[in-house]
Amino acid sequence: MSASTSVTRAESLPPRAPANVPKSVRRRRRLRTVPVYVILWAVGVFMVTPLLYALVSGFKSTDQLSGNTFGLPDPWVTSNYTSLLGSGAFWRSIGSSTVIALATAVLTVGAAALAAYALARFAFRGRELLFTVFTMGLMFPFAVAILPLFILLRTFGLLDNPWGVILPQAAFGLPMTIVILRGFFREIPGELEEAATLDGCSTFGFFWRILLPLARPALGTVSVLAIVGSWNNFLLPLLVFSEPTWWTIPVGIQQFQGQYASDVARIFAYLVLAMAPALAFYAVAERQLIGGITLGATKG
């Protein structure tokens, strides 16, 4: 994806008309793009309005919201945001979302990298069958297995335990991660492995010291996918955590909405604060995210 991103950057500069094009043609060209900009603006407004509305509404009191829907807050009420930022519950949700997302990513990528290595670089009987079993997993959403999964977790005493969310998330994340990583591992020339073996490198040594560092971009991509998937997961934490101790952000929002149903401005503030980490992450890891999501989609 890196190549396409750099192309994007170069092309996003204002177009420069070649010097030999007559002025009237250039003018006509510019006129022709006016409708394009109008359309993009309209769609942009459609996309941005809900987000901006939430941000501004968070600075109003609920009374202001119904009386003064469109205007800026008057006065600006900061208590919605500050009371949340001062509350333990909000930070606890951020904390558990973070811990669960990181643990899920480490576990998914670790187990998937080992398996993808074996599936990519060893020739053994049943390899393709094994790979097919994993790719079949792409067809199992959480929802299909959620009932027995819940019963299983209850039997093992993993309800109200972060592992009850981390382990199933990692398991369901494996197929996509294995498919992507196996593709990358296959592209690394076999001569490299032979040379390493001749130099006395063990199988695991090659994997750990040569393959993984070479596959760093791919590992970044799949880690980002695992983190985002975990961060946004709702169904599983909703069922696993009945106690608020480990509520993740999505579960926290839903409970908060139920609790403060009449205090709309406060809910807006909560939404904005809950969106912020995801959007910040998007701004930082945009390339991995888009590359990973489009790659994952076409591979799946």
Partner: protein, 342 residues
């Protein structure tokens, strides 16, 4: 599904010192080639290491994906409340009940409607945006980023946000319509039997079209500019170029995006659960919501499992049929284009 990179001939020939240089060029992914030619001890060692390397993934996957799937299949033949061991075997009753259950049949119909909406409206819209943003435009990186941003947000955040925006009378939507004098158009949104699905679809478009747009943009970048240039010189207009160059060359990407859209519609839950919980009066219920309601609210685990098995079979049959009849060898083409761009 992937091509092994064929090693350049120069490297291959210079590596004659390697013990099994004879195996280059690398065999096709499906042939067990090298194993057959390797000495036996090495084969055993390979098999052992492969086993050790796959164990963590196999245990996780087997225990938490395959076992629950199998168990769902098993309990779908019982009448079971979810506690103790299932003992009241009812044969295929849970499955025959599916076909008489207006809620489940309604789920299928609503899923179908959402898929049709997506294919007829959302995906063409995403394609139009991708084509626009594939040109040289001022600030197009910003538009791309903005259009894709909602995809990153959790469905719960999206759901809560829009349930407040479309709150009857008080929300931004109704207030805006009032302000421009179309107040009569608003009102029910998620609360109305007939309006809930279209409103939901609007929210889904807001959240998901950027994802499809990104897929198309990646596909568009794989189309060589020379083709357009040549067609332009031959006098082809913008529409003709779109129709005869862009569309055919983008077809693999389009098919994958339709596929993902259908699978997404079958698995829809979070967004709807947060906004309507399937209401009013089942008007927005999806298969996963029915499963959740029967399983965790009414403790009819057997019947809920039958729904999940049905859901799985529908996805599986669709995926296999789609791969067999629509995708065929497309996938490879799409992936190689993506790789060329990476």
């Amino acid at each position: 599904m992937t091509h092994p990179t064929s090693t350049p001939a120069s490297i291959t020939s210079s590596s004659t010192y390697a013990p099994d240089a004879g195996k280059s060029p690398r065999p096709a992914p499906d042939s067990p080639g090298p194993a057959a030619r390797r000495p036996a001890p090495r084969r055993v060692r390979d098999w052992l290491s492969a086993f050790v390397f796959t164990v963590p993934a196999l245990v996780l996957f087997g225990l938490l994906v395959l076992v629950p799937m199998g168990y769902a299949f098993y309990i779908s033949f019982f009448n079971w409340g979810g506690f103790g061991t299932p003992s009241d075997s009812v044969g295929f009753d849970n499955y025959t009940r599916l076909f008489d259950d207006p809620v489940f049949l309604g789920d299928l119909w609503r899923g179908f409607l959402l898929i049709v909406f997506s294919i007829v409206l959302q995906l063409p819209f995403a394609l139009a945006m991708a084509v626009l943003l594939n040109q040289r435009l001022r600030g197009r990186a910003v538009y791309r980023m903005l259009f894709f941003a909602p995809y990153i947000l959790s469905e719960v955040i999206t759901g809560v946000l829009f349930s407040m925006i479309f709150a009857p009378g008080e929300g931004l939507a109704d207030k805006s319509l009032d302000a421009i004098g179309f107040g009569a158009l608003g009102g029910d949104w998620f609360a109305g039997q007939d309006t809930v699905l279209p409103t939901l679809f609007l929210v889904m478009t807001w959240k998901y079209f950027g994802f499809h747009m990104m897929l198309y943009l990646a596909g568009l970048q794989g189309i060589p500019a020379e083709l357009h240039e040549a067609a332009r010189i031959d006098g082809a207009g913008a529409w003709q170029r779109f129709r005869h160059i862009t569309l055919p060359l983008l077809a693999p990407t389009l098919r994958i995006s339709v596929f993902l859209s259908v699978i997404g519609a079958i698995q829809l839950f979070d967004l709807v659960w947060v906004i309507t919980s399937g209401g009013p009066d089942h008007a927005s219920e999806t298969m996963v919501i029915s499963l959740f309601q029967y399983g965790f609210k009414r403790y009819q685990m057997g019947y809920a499992s039958a729904i999940s098995v049905a859901m799985f079979l529908i996805s599986l049959v669709f995926a296999l049929a789609y791969q067999r009849f629509v995708l065929r060898r497309d996938t490879e083409g799409a992936i190689t284009t993506m790789r060329a761009n990476r």
